[in-house]
Symmetry: C2
Subunit: 425 residues, 2 copies
């Protein structure tokens, strides 16, 4: 398949090129060539002369099934908000997790996201939903023992089961990961045992890290260490570690993350909306060399799964925080949402280059939010909204084509979601 005459091709390669009038060939789910006038005899041709073609987005922190809880509780701080959410979650069973996740997959497709890292409960259902949607998923069972009230053993069994189930799918799109919930909800035993499991199986290992000040002080009171120091002492930091949120970190902790080549997922909207007070230390992270990506968090706290909005929110937050309008440029925000996330997931996507996965997003070059045709990266980050998205290709296959979702039956997904919602209320 060849994407012919792309009006603009935003490569996100090392040179951050914007190419005009190029073709892009896709073979076996990968980008095999980018050049002008590729010979296309015998291959399917997609006319892209009205398209802006770029790498699709990567969402590094979300809880898909929480789609069901969008708007359940707003305008509350993390602690009371979590209590209310946990109460609602008690009513959720397999079918609700599945329906909520599939609905969230629909939203992600329509938001230009091709890959996501999910952490929630009954994750097998999310995996099933993502498989149908044909998205790239990284699935983590939210491991939680409320700091020792249960033994780690049964929880690790559940993790083992999800991992085996995921691996049995034998799909490059479906990847198991390990996600203990946080320092304040997991016992030392659970953190250490789940890390052993992750290390043995060479899996990514992510957890909520220093989202609120309360969490930091709670950790310090209990362990005489700040969260990143505590995690270092438990031996769980390495290049597979991803800290979700990572807002309330000291410079010392950032250096620790950098030393172990660990990563961080910035979730600006969720942090602002839940008024966590802390601000992701983007500049310090960057200077220290910590790898960074973007996450929306779940639909209960954002309340959308829209990386376009997240890039703008990240730029606005950093600029305002630092009184510095050049803090986090549009280009840097796009980097977080594409190659930044890919690098953290060790995923061969995030840029348009020969040999990379064909994970590709297309925008209508004539959409009003993408005009005038100059500084397109600025428009993508600051101006564009979801209605400019026309196509999403994941692993070489169209999940959305000319505005129509191909991999899911949109009305059915909504219907199933509404039925699950009815059972909850």
């Amino acid at each position: 398949m060849i994407l012919k005459n792309c009006a603009f091709l935003i490569t996100q390669d090392q040179q951050r090129q914007v190419l005009e009038g190029y073709d892009l060939r896709i073979s076996g789910g990968k980008i095999s060539k980018i050049a002008k006038n590729i010979d296309s005899s015998g291959e399917a041709q997609i006319d892209c002369k009205k398209k802006i073609v770029l790498p699709s987005f990567i969402n590094l922190h979300t809880h898909l099934a929480m789609g069901l809880l969008r708007g359940h509780e707003d305008d509350l701080e993390l602690e009371p908000w979590l209590s209310s959410i946990w109460k609602a979650e008690e009513k959720m069973s397999q079918k609700e997790y599945y329906a909520g996740s599939k609905f969230a997959c629909l939203e992600m497709i329509r938001s230009g996201t091709s890959a996501f890292l999910d952490m929630y409960f009954e994750e097998k259902n999310t995996l099933k939903a993502a498989k149908e949607a044909k998205l790239r998923g990284y699935f983590g069972e939210g491991l939680i023992d409320y700091c020792g009230s249960k033994k780690a053993g049964p929880i690790i069994s559940k993790l083992t089961e999800l991992t085996k189930y995921c691996q049995s799918q034998k799909s490059p799109l479906l990847n198991p990961i390990v996600t203990p919930h946080s320092c304040y909800t997991c016992s030392e035993e659970l953190i250490v045992e789940s890390k052993k499991f992750a290390a043995k199986n060479k899996l990514l290992y992510g957890m909520h890290l220093s989202e609120t000040r309360k969490e930091v002080y709670g950790c310090y009171a209990k362990h005489k260490k700040r969260p990143a120091e505590y995690l270092e002492s438990l031996g769980v930091l390495d290049s597979n570690f991803i800290g979700f949120h990572s807002s309330w970190l000291t410079k010392g902790e950032i250096e620790t993350l950098a030393k172990y080549k660990s990563s961080a997922a910035h979730c600006p909207t969720s942090n602002m909306k839940l008024a966590t007070g802390g601000a992701f230390p983007y500049r310090e992270m960057k200077e220290a060399g910590v790898k960074i990506g973007l996450g929306t968090d779940g639909a209960a706290s954002n309340n959308s799964l829209n990386i376009l909005g997240e890039m703008k929110a990240a730029c606005l937050m950093q600029k305002w925080l630092r009184w510095n309008a050049s803090e986090m440029s549009a280009q840097q925000a796009l980097d977080l949402a594409t190659i930044g996330g890919a690098s953290i997931l060790k995923l061969n996507s995030g840029s348009l280059e020969s040999g990379k996965n064909a994970d590709i997003l297309m925008l209508d070059k004539n959409h009003f939010s993408m005009l005038p045709p100059k500084n397109l990266v600025s428009h993508i980050v600051y101006s564009c909204s979801r209605e400019a998205i026309t196509d999403l290709i994941v692993n070489g296959e169209f999940l959305m084509n000319e505005g129509k979702v191909m991999s899911l039956k949109e009305e059915e997904v909504k219907q199933e979601f509404l039925e699950a919602f009815e059972r909850l209320i």
Copy 2:
């Protein structure tokens, strides 16, 4: 015309009701009745059983023709950013102001905005564009003499000319206002003379107010007064005064604004993006009783004219600033964008009540961003993006119907815009 069986009708009346299954009758540009099962014999019926019906948005601060300068310069602070913008503006003539404004009108229609307050140059062109678009406009020539380099006389002549032109249209949709640019670009004479003109003609009078710290200290250095104190001393504060931005105000200045029943337009995205450092003192304004609305600012600084995004940005900014997740709720943000703005403009719109102008927005109730069907105001503010908007009615007339813009020829508007842009670069 009757909007039949509205799935949800978000009234924004005193009780903030959300009605289900109601009809809404429009007669002579006004809402004449809201009830169940209105007798509709002989009247046009619009089936609204799949619609969420609410008052359309009001944008209190923008520079429409700057649509041409979207992405012209980003990631710069206000001072160098303004220098670069001013240089670009030198190349703009009547045709560019017109084309840029009409393009911005298209964006506003597609963003659910029915009324706007504009301040820019060659404003007659913006008025012509808005007239074609059938939007409600408040048009202010940006008055500027760089603090005395010119006499106020010729500038007041230009203002007189615009006012007469506007009044000669004899349209309730087209309203002249008076807008000196700011304390730092206008001489005392210009501020006072333009206020005299506004008072004589009973016109609203708006200006940039305390957008940056530099502006505040410059004013203090020159006049030994902070901006609002300075304006009070010039006698320009009253219930027709609107301060755009109003970020760097002291509590004392806020009390001064309240004393004169003056108003403020909050522009969170622009402030954050230009890293002005200050934060709109929402809580203090509210407590003091200052009237507040929302503005996007121009497309060169936002870079969109999307009130949906602006409501979310305002909530996020206030919550994060105060470490208080209940600071500015979704309902309060919607209030700013509807009845708040209307009250400032002394406009009989902003809520759905009998006797009010029929300025109405409709959303697809089945759009994924509006699901689940609970807490719709939360979805509008935190989840929804422009693609959920289906219809916009202004003064009883459809400007957009089922996703199609009726009052403008969309492709022609874009073509004209692109031609104007080509002349600029």
